[in-house]
């Protein structure tokens, strides 16, 4: 239950970190908040020969707003994000989601970027990034910068489109129009546990009709899952003519839940249907 030996570096710049990752050729692991990596190291499920600790890179911190978008530095701690007034007013859905990540003690260390880049399928932040249309900006020593939409980031459980030599440097979350309503639901066995079924979404209502919708499940498949059919069915619809149950059915049709020791796939679908229909009704009935 003690980590295997590794070399440890704590670079102070992004360039230095990217250089170390490239040089290690896949044998390095990035240490951000460590709230998932440290258990993996202790259980020796992960045995990198090099740990690149990015906690001392000042450029990876901070939250700022510019032209319709919020930039979050990936090593922003989850509790810092919850306390941040800018983020609270610009991205209320994201802040609600962060409050459901782990426990108070793990949120003091755990980072926004760490959770997004890890790709745990039952975690809150990957799904919320997909729902909001967020993207990550990454950097590698050899190929420079590129931007990956959250929707294209997740390939499977803990598998992402990030290459071994890439470091997430920025998280960009678009700001949604006035009149957007937020919905966030999570069923877990205990507070702080991963979700059995979770739902994160944004729905913009203008002149009584849905003009934009972003909805994503977590805990309902190998990756966060965008409820595309439900989004399409909502677009252009008048609020007073919505069939909540039918849209919930479409939303569940996009999922691929699994059986495990905590719940069956059928249980997850049943809960998902009811959760979605109720959340949709409550979200659209509430004042924006």
């Amino acid at each position: 239950m003690k980590p295997a030996p590794f070399d440890y570096y704590a670079p102070s710049t992004v360039e230095e970190a990217c250089g170390l990752l490239a040089e290690a050729g896949g044998g390095a692991t990035i240490l951000a908040g460590g709230q998932t990596l440290m258990p993996l190291l202790a259980l020796r499920m992960s045995q990198p020969f090099l740990l690149v600790d990015i906690n001392r890179i000042a450029a990876l911190k901070g939250i700022s707003r510019s032209a319709g978008s919020t930039r979050i530095g990936p090593i922003t701690r989850q509790n810092e994000a919850i306390a941040d007034a800018t983020l609270g007013s610009a991205q209320p859905l994201l802040v609600t989601a962060v409050k459901h990540v782990g426990h108070h003690q793990t949120r003091n260390r755990g980072t926004i970027g760490g959770s997004i880049a890890l790709g745990e399928p039952a975690a809150e932040l990957p799904a919320t990034s997909v729902a909001l249309g967020a993207s990550v900006e990454v950097r590698s020593a050899k190929r420079g910068k590129r931007r990956i939409a959250a929707e294209e980031l997740y390939l499977g459980p803990y598998a992402t489109a990030l290459e071994f030599d890439e470091l997430v440097t920025d998280i960009h979350v678009p700001e949604w129009p006035t009149g957007t309503r937020w919905m966030f639901r999570e069923l877990a066995q205990r507070p702080g546990d991963f979700a059995l079924v979770g739902l994160s979404g944004a729905i913009t209502v203008q002149d009584g009709k849905v003009s934009k919708a972003g909805l994503a499940w977590f805990g309902m498949g190998p990756t966060p899952i965008k409820a595309r059919q439900a989004e399409a069915a909502l677009l252009g619809q008048s609020l007073d003519r919505l069939d909540h149950a039918a849209i919930a059915e479409l939303a569940v049709a996009d999922t691929a839940p699994f059986d495990d020791h905590r719940a069956t796939s059928e249980y997850r679908r049943t809960v998902g249907r009811r959760m979605f229909a109720r959340a949709l009704r409550e979200t659209l009935e509430a004042k924006a």
């Binding site: 003690k2 030996p5 590794f6 440290m38 258990p39 003690q105």
Partner: protein, 164 residues
Amino acid sequence: MSKHQIHLDINGRAHDASVEGRLTLCDFLRGDAGYTGVHVGCEHGVCGACTVMLDGLAVRSCLMLAVQADGCSVTTVEGLCSGDGALHPVQQTLREEHGLQCGFCTPGVVMTLAALTQGEQKPSSETLINAMSGHICRCTGYQGIRRAALRLAGEALAPVEDHG
């Protein structure tokens, strides 16, 4: 594997040490610095017994490397007492409300409650109760801990009935 020089403050005293990269903060605090009030339970971030304050915030010391605490200020349960033998208000409240039995999880519980109640403003009872979800206690059934947390949030409670 190379060693790393670290300099940190533990309970108000400066410490210099040379540590291996893989040494966790909890093992450093217990084994190297001698603060055995840091209890190591699960060693993978589930139980909360090893909770300490890092720059004033409650964190799990098994989920950090000692080398990461370089330049930081760490407080363990030993650092809470004033030295005259009097208990810290959090400890006193847990004692009065029967918030502990075997005591293994207690230093962690104390550190979370102490971190959240150290400011001028009292935290809400919801904040304290939610933060307790980060600790596993196998003895108390949590009711005593819950009562202590509610009292620390400023709620007046009826005294525990004496069935003796």
